[in-house]
Amino acid sequence: MDLQELEKRFQEKIDKEIKIEPNDWMPDEYRKTLIRQISQHAHSEIVGMLPEGNWITRAPNLRRKAVLLAKVQDEAGHGLYLYSSVETLGADREATIDDLHSGKAKYSSIFNYPAVTWADIGTIGWLVDGAAIMNQVALCRCSYGPYARGMVKICKEESFHQRQGFESLVTLCNGTPTQKAMAQDAMNRFWWPSLMMFGPSDDESPNSAQSMKWKIKRFSNDELRQSFVDATVPQAEILGLTIPDPNLKWNEETGHYDFSPINWDEFWQVVNGNGPCNKERIEARTKAKEEGMWVREAAMAYAEKRALKKTA
């Protein structure tokens, strides 16, 4: 069968909503796009543990501490489901991780912002996990089977992440004026970076059309961003927090909220390595890999020695 015929059959399967599985024929570009997207998604889960992990020892009480530990452990699990799904495409897990450390691979730019107060932890759960869920729910129907299945499991687990964040903010917003001000300050810093999580606007996102055709993506960046704003504004009202956008208002005609243009200069600065924490995040990940190397080597040597004894 020639390439053209294979590509035609592939697209027919996609159009008929038949999932693509690891050993099925797929265009090189489909494979490459997925390896890039899934590995960067995995990196985001792993790097995302850093800003929150920082607060585990400083959580205000035992309940919040147990919750935060469970959440951070989930993020590790999510990273591992995703690395396992990227390996089904023939990618080398460690090579994708080395690409993260060398700066070749990206991760969600949101994790380059620091979590400086306790209110940031609630806000990250509410806004950052909320935005991630909006993206990931759409990915549950991705044409690539292992990715879609991983997303289903991740989405089930993430809804607790968003709710615990919101609950923590309800407590702060019903607390002292200082606590409420701390929540507002976190909102002010995280609102715009959360909207940026959906990526460049549609007219600046050249690969989107192909990804939509292959049903890797189901909704455009701008559509998902709009859904997130529409879902989140009423939640902010319940908290009594002000969204830091003077142009935010309900539009009767469109049935959506209008909002100000996004500062894309800031977005590209952070993506390209100049955010407040880019350097720190990559250093932490590189250090973890290098300093854990001897443990992994020792475990492997032990396993080999035991296997040898068994056969001897």
Partner: protein
């Protein structure tokens, strides 16, 4: 040996007594003991299961998707393997 990766393992979980073990994903581990321990942490954080199997991925032998037609088409064409193929007179019960 610093660049050698731990082997890949496929993870299967029995969600409850009476059901089959079902494939849930994979992970890397140096040996079976640690593969089981990691599978417990990675794949069963919310009472997903009561039993885990791990199998080194290179021990899994799979059919080739491009053979699917010749392998499975014969079972599609044998409609007489299904009870609905047969007509029985009206009024027959328990059949």
């Amino acid at each position: 040996m610093s660049n050698r990766e731990w082997p890949l393992w496929e993870v299967f979980i029995r969600s409850k007594q009476g059901l089959n073990h079902k494939h849930v994903g994979s992970l890397r581990a140096p040996d079976a003991t640690l593969a089981l321990a990691n599978a417990r942490d990675v794949y069963t954080r919310r009472s997903e299961g009561i039993s885990i199997w791990v199998i080194e991925s290179n021990n899994v032998h799979a059919s080739d998707p491009s053979d699917a037609d010749s392998l499975f088409e014969p079972s599609d064409t044998k409609v007489y393997r299904h009870p609905t193929f047969y007509e029985v007179p009206d009024g027959i019960k328990h059949m």
